[in-house]
Symmetry: C2
Subunit: 158 residues, 2 copies
């Protein structure tokens, strides 16, 4: 259903959390606690983000993670690309995709506009913008209702 994976979702939450205090260095257990996400997943995702160059890591007793750049310099496109791979809605990512249907495909080449639009939309939003404190909205207290397809029973089991 055109969804990002939970890993990406969590990754964005983690990065956003870090962006709120960019100088801080936080270790995995702390981050998990503060974001209410399961530690093993947090740890796994942080490693990916380090490998992709969005985070710096420091080993040892006083170790932890911090943003590799300022939040203003990190776009959502980079974040999603780091966690999901190339941003494209279809397999036909570029003209050299080599799709086996290509010689017959009537929509050949048409998807690029849509893919590009999505990429631009993500590139136009920085991590800093994602981290802005939301203006107070009282209507948010609708805890009981869940969307029909949201199944993940996470973080609520205590």
């Amino acid at each position: 259903m055109i969804r990002i994976t939970k890993q990406t979702d969590y990754g964005i939450v983690l990065l956003t959390h870090l962006a709120a205090a960019p100088e801080r260095q936080v270790n995995a257990p702390e981050l998990a606690g503060e974001t209410h996400l399961p530690l093993p997943m947090v740890s796994k995702i942080l490693k990916v983000l380090v490998r992709e160059g969005l985070l710096d890591s420091h080993r040892g007793v006083k170790g932890g993670y911090s943003l590799s750049r300022s939040p203003e310099e990190i776009s959502m496109a980079e974040v999603v690309a780091a966690l999901e791979g190339p941003i494209a809605i279809t397999e036909c990512i570029d003209d050299q995709s080599g799709c086996s249907h290509e010689p017959l495909c009537p929509v050949r080449g048409r998807w690029h506009r849509i893919n590009a639009a999505l990429r631009e939309a993500l590139a136009g939003i920085s991590l800093a913008e994602m981290a802005e404190t939301p203006r107070p909205e009282p209507k948010l207290v609708t805890l009981g209702r869940r969307p029909a397809l949201a199944v993940a029973p996470l973080g609520q089991e205590h």
Copy 2:
């Protein structure tokens, strides 16, 4: 990887094929043959498209399928929505989504811009455009690079 499903992919191919000759009425085996897609899948997808109102069907010996409207009047947003459900990259589809993480979620409400951008990108392309025989340079996507906070309401939800 933020992909549409194959079902949607095939559906777009089928609709595009039909859009090339909008008056024509074609049955499932013919369509499968002409698009080089497996008949059972074609049949399955056509039924969905009828149910969603994008195709008209006619039973009986001379039966078949045809577009319910002219290709110009059908947007890719409708097509994708028919085959995938509501267009949104995250579970947080709207402000009333009631995600269980919501009270703690730091990106609460921030995804709507991205979802809206994707929707607009899809709404801005008609089936007729998808069916055009490829020509050198289609007009640029005007969608992406606009001031980050200026999110126009998307006027395409019937």
